[in-house]
Symmetry: C2
Subunit: 814 residues, 2 copies
């Protein structure tokens, strides 16, 4: 048997290697019927993982099938040696047993690596493991299928190895900041199916079920559960109880929704082991063990084939039944055009499946990690598949499910409201007193507009200006290119375009839409770009730094402020007098206008608009659905603009990127507008899952995590993610019209070619996005704008790496 | 020490007792600073639960504080005896040690109860335990605080006792149908905080963390983690690693969102135990054990007080920051008016906290179970806090989080689409080919209307009827009292009323709203109630059974069908000719019109409307958000009406009652309407969390569970939940105008008094609802209609019990 073993590196060597590997753009492993690959976890230490692994390897060897055994982490002893010792037949070609990292200290890897001063990061373990799997596949000469069995260390949540590079919030660490994660978290991103070796001892039912649950909350697909029964007579086998449990009508499920352990071969037990001093050869050679191992091996291979078929068919079958939003399906008829198969995601990375080019492997695929640079429609905050978020959501699900909300107080809703209204960085702190819950950005904004309109009418009457004349329609002031959602009410708060006029006969624009100045880098310089018509004073348009342009307080005394104020006042008055309409609310996306084209609006202009609206007693609504909650480095853009709204909407990042939930914050004055003697005067808007506890607890978890990060020190997170010099440099490329970055977002506007500009024009951005995808970055163009968005937990060096790839993409295309 | 012990009942006696107790309307336990109550779980068998329990009891006794120890389930031996044996001081008054159920067989309770033929249901264990806690509280004479420690059996997921009465889908059972649940599931509904005794042995880190996760997914609040270290030198204590893990910035959280185990006293270890043969007296007497136990006891009491304060303050503080939907807040100023504090929920029951009347216990509360008879706004399907649903949601969260959806296929979305479109009872089977995902009923219906309108315009042109004339407005046919959601687009599909006209200046009704005939029991007879104006033929209005009235196929040849058809045709034509509008879609809530007043519409009338619309080439939209997916006993009401729609919307029950997600199903013809050459022709409607995997997997889990129930046999679930004779009897009560039940819903319309009828009129329904609440049933009136709604998993005898309480309520009020 070809035995490879990677000996210990020096600590320094390891760190250097890991750093370089961090910048590898893609790592892939095969998902192919030719290479069934399973991870073997144990419900506990010492339940017989290596014995089960050996019996599986042995059943391959006995049948002359090539097989590889991999032990990524070994502390003391050698499981690889144990496996090899028990092979009684000559091992087929194309086989091997591999220990990837080992330590002499017989302790948990997190301790052994610290004691021996051998830092080994998760990244390094995974890279080495994936390399090993790739090389097994690449070097396979046999036409038969080759099983790969990966044996983990200890129990499902036993610590993995430690390293100073294991420094994400999910890592547990000691005072020297050597962090570790659990075995279950370490291998999660490989998205491989699992064999769980349960605990056959007294108490083992509980240990086995708990271990199973730990795998489930990490999304694993458990293909089989194997027990080694305890010596007879002690308490009986745990098998019957575990089978009873798995056969309940309430299935256990994988993260893809597949029912687990329903087949009779999926839960089996092996006979008790002889006493410790007796070698296991006879046990392995017994008919029962041989027969059971073979059956298990066969069943696992069947399950693997099923797994590959299911995944392979996803693309073609999925597009027959799914109706994608914002997607023209015409042209998707070609079998494999455009559909991306995402089979799991970890941290900032999607796990994407692509077909292999190998003609001999018709359903073969490659799995590789691709950076989610659209932050999955701006939602990602905690990273994909974050276990602590999954557990927090499950905790609320377990305690409450969902409970009706009117007239009800439950702790998750109250605790979330406290964080939004009263915590140090709460977006509603000092101005808002109430939280209204809905499901998404659209509904949060529909509620906001209902609140704003009613407040206007109420205030008008209260201050003696009388009722709204019957011949006047109430409308809003909004911004050009604004986007507040897809429901009809908020669709009306958008100027007519090819994207809403054709969508619904009931669409009717209901606002004054103002053109606005932006801030951006052009040719390497930061400055204000006024709308073409504005006659903006030239002197005020250039700035030495992004800090100065964002210093609204300082800029209030500038001519530009006066200019903005007067300009808006003129348009406003003109609109009201000529259109026979009354403006009853101001609706803006503060600072970052997202879906409408990634425009960074000059906050001074928005401040002027707000100041003007205040003078006219018109309520101010912030739509912070996209940009709020740290997307641009601040909890609310009021921190940049220096003024508070009356009403503000949040969603997307709220739940950390997990599930829909939105909130509309309101001042006490707005709330009081709805007080009255009858129910009809109340705000009659309530979706079934209003304030669902799962969303509330997920949001609490996310907000606490963001707060710890953003409140903990003196860094200015508006400019701390992407390096401003790198962004400035992007703006100097020929193909780039302008570039800008705030917080977790960097955007470049590509010089339009003959295909035009704006949302419909993607002539030159599509190849840029294609280059990014080929280099492991999944971005979505917005017309001629390409942007990259990270999560609030992403590190600056990762941002820098992404910025580099973006630059390469722009250089390649131009 | 006052030692009580409930001796074994005969099996028969136990079953009888449990059956009676099932009908007890309310059971409560104190939540009071006077009675700190903790449940002690073990990470595994044999980790030292009883030793830790003893040390806690001992620290109370040593300080002369009253204390109770409860061991609900004991198999062989006596932990109570062990505890008592180690008391070295005389035990204070008001103390006790109690074993509630015991077996001689030293095995897991699920086996012991089977072997000894002593069935013991979850209900019986919980009732007995709650009775015990109540009696401890009632009999307490001391003014000091009294600790109550409840020690579970085995590990967190060790089996509990078996009984034929443990027959819910969550129970694991043997072939004789004696079912059991896990310890963690058994005690969940008590919502008590936990002391987890971790595993101090080698491998114990994994076992302890997994056990912790099993408690977390069940929503438990873990107040402390205690380890008994293994004898020194073996591998070192597990304490440092567990502390490192708990101190990560990503907190572990309770189901209420509270961070777990962050305080330094919350994770402690006790010194290694002496060898088995050495008695523990010396160990207990050691300074270290005494000091640690005392510190732990003190910390747990502090945590308990905090817990009580937090819960007590929820009601008053919550209503300062929450803005409830559909609620007039005026009048809530009085400190305790109206707010219901829900602290968890299990199955069909809320766990509600009420203040005690005891003046000496100013923050004292009672916790009791109350039936969720509004199914939390029609959402409940799997029961609250169902562990398998919580795990399924967590699995998807762990594997994916959320991933962007346009042009993407992921298995959960595809697998859910398959179930909706192609499974045996899929609501879209045989007519729909596409699934469009949104977040809630409102958005699903906005999408449905966008689809319907465009289809109408497209078909009109395609069949050569030309474009819609510019002077004509496109509207819909809908039903009086209809309700399709709260966003502005669907608000327009509702006739003007006090509930929408005042809500928004942009509200503008856009439909022909038809009055409709209902089916209902009146004076004990089932029949059709036509709208007053209809001139409906009298002969067709009476039926011998509900089956006959629901047999639309049979009734198609009746005069009534022709009458309906002609009547609608007349109104339709009249509307289009006089209003200068064109009807471009038909929008109906099939069979059950929910929010508008729980009206059961004659399906024959809806069939006539559909047949007419088909003849006019007008698309048909089913809003099955409220009534679909088995709410009325069928997956889709098309099974009753006998006709398919072009478009249909589902939400509420979709995710099993956990989180928001909705789907709009469409036929291939509808889908094709949106195919074109440009993106602008596509359906541009996409919320950020479109097709979120957590919702998809929750929905798959729920739909599979419903399907297994509803497809598995020949029962007609339209009439199998509530007994039709009991419903008929309700309709004969003086106060009742009419009564009706289909599927999981029973509704009675109360004879209006001077306060009028309809949604605004609740004069006589409020006392009925109050009576229900006082008798453990949480219902919400809809004007003069009171309804009770169960989940698809609720058993008929529970429905019958609820119907009985409703009858009592109606008799008491009238």
């Amino acid at each position: 048997m070809n035995v490879s073993r990677i000996s210990r590196y020096s600590a320094k060597h390891r760190i250097l290697k890991a750093t370089r590997q961090l910048s590898a753009s893609s790592k892939s492993i095969p998902v192919s019927k030719k290479f069934p690959t399973h991870v073997i976890f144990g419900a506990n230490t010492d339940v017989g993982k290596t014995v089960v692994s050996t019996s599986l390897v042995k059943s391959n060897v006995d049948n002359n099938q090539p097989v590889h055994y991999i032990k990524p982490l070994q502390c003391g002893g050698s499981d690889e040696g144990f496996v090899l010792k028990h092979m009684t037949k000559s091992v087929p070609n194309d086989s091997g047993a591999h220990t990837l990292f080992n330590w002499n200290t017989p302790a948990s890897p997190h301790l052994a690596s610290r004691i021996e001063n051998q830092p080994t990061s998760d990244e390094m373990v995974l890279d080495t493991l994936q390399q090993k799997i790739r090389s097994i596949a690449q070097n396979a000469e046999s036409v038969s299928c080759t099983n790969i069995w990966i044996e983990t260390a200890g129990g499902v949540l036993s610590p993995s190895s430690s390293s100073p590079l294991n420094s994400q919030p999910k890592h547990a660490s000691n005072q020297q900041r050597w962090g570790w994660s659990t075995q279950g978290d370490l291998y999660k991103q490989l998205q491989l199916p699992v064999v769980l070796v349960g605990d056959g001892r007294l108490g083992g039912i509980s240990a086995t079920l708990s271990a199973m649950e730990s795998l489930i909350v990490r999304g694993y697909d458990i293909h089989a559960l194997v027990l080694i029964d305890e010596a007879e007579g002690e308490h009986g086998s745990n098998l019957p109880a575990l089978k009873e449990y798995a056969e309940r009508s309430l299935s256990l499920r994988s993260g893809s929704g597949r029912p687990l352990l329903k087949h009779e071969d999926s839960i089996i037990s092996l006979p008790p082991l002889p006493p410790l001093e007796v070698p296991l050869d006879e046990w392995f050679a017994s008919a029962q063990v041989k027969e059971q191992s073979e059956r298990l091996n066969g069943y696992l291979n069947e399950m693997w084939n099923d797994h590959v078929d299911t995944l392979y068919n996803l693309r073609s079958e999925g597009k027959e039944s799914l109706w994608w939003p914002f997607t023209q399906h015409q042209g998707h008829d070609d079998k494999k055009v455009n559909a991306t198969v995402i089979d799991g995601a970890t941290g900032d990375y999607f796990s994407i499946l692509n077909d292999t080019d190998n003609d001999n492997d018709t359903t073969g695929m490659e799995r590789s990690g691709t950076f989610d640079a659209c932050a999955s429609w701006w939602t990602q905050g905690m990273g994909h598949g974050e276990t602590s978020l999954s557990l927090s959501a499950a905790a609320a699900a377990g305690k409450f499910g969902h409970v009706i909300f009117p007239d009800v107080v439950h702790e998750p809703a109250k605790a979330l409201a406290d964080r939004l209204l009263h915590s140090k960085s709460g977006p509603g702190r000092d101005w808002a007193s109430r939280v209204f819950f809905t499901d998404d950005g659209s509904t949060a904004m529909e509620v906001a507009i209902k609140m704003g309109m009613k407040k206007y009418v109420y205030d008008r009457a209260a201050r003696g200006d009388g009722d709204v004349p019957l011949d006047k329609k109430l409308t809003v002031v909004a911004q050009n290119d604004c986007y507040h959602g897809d429901t009809l009410g908020v669709m009306d708060v958008a100027e007519p375009s090819v994207f809403n006029e054709g969508q619904h006969p009931w669409y009717e624009p209901k606002g004054l839409f103002l053109s606005y100045p932006t801030i951006r880098y052009a040719n390497g310089k930061i400055g204000v770009a006024p709308p073409s018509s504005s006659g903006c004073p030239a002197s005020a348009k250039e700035f030495d730094s992004i800090e100065l342009i964002l210093d609204v307080g300082q800029r209030l005394s500038s001519d530009l402020y006066t200019h903005y104020y007067e300009q808006i006042d003129k348009e406003w008055s003109n609109y009201e007098s000529t259109e026979n309409k009354i403006i009853a609310s101001v609706v803006i996306e503060p600072v970052l206008l997202g879906a409408g084209g990634m425009k960074f609006i000059d906050p001074l202009w928005q401040r002027a608009l707000i100041d003007l609206a205040r003078s006219k007693h018109v309520p101010i609504i912030f739509d912070e659905v996209a940009a709020g909650l740290y997307r641009v480095g601040v909890a609310s853009c009021r921190e940049i603009i220096g003024a508070n709204p009356d009403i503000a909407a949040y969603a997307k990042l709220l739940t950390g990127g997990l599930i829909p939930m939105s909130v509309t914050l309101a001042s006490e004055d707005v709330f009081k507008t709805f007080l009255g003697d009858t129910k009809a005067e109340a705000l009659l808007h309530g979706h079934s899952y209003t304030a669902h506890p799962v969303g509330c607890v997920s949001s609490i978890h996310a907000l606490d995590t963001y707060a710890e990060l953003f409140e903990s020190n003196e860094i200015d997170y508006k400019t701390a993610f992407f390096n401003q010099e790198e962004v400035s440099a992007l703006s100097q490329l020929d193909i780039v019209q302008e570039a800008m970055s705030l917080g977790t977002v960097v955007a470049v506007t590509i010089e339009p070619d003959e295909s035009g500009s704006g949302y419909a024009a993607a002539g030159r951005s599509i190849p840029v996005v294609k280059y990014l995808l080929d280099n492991g970055v999944y971005a979505r163009p917005l017309g001629n704008v390409v942007y990259i968005m990270v999560s609030p937990l992403t590190k600056p060096d990762e941002c820098s790496r992404l910025c580099g790839i973006l630059k390469d993409a722009l250089l390649t295309v131009s």
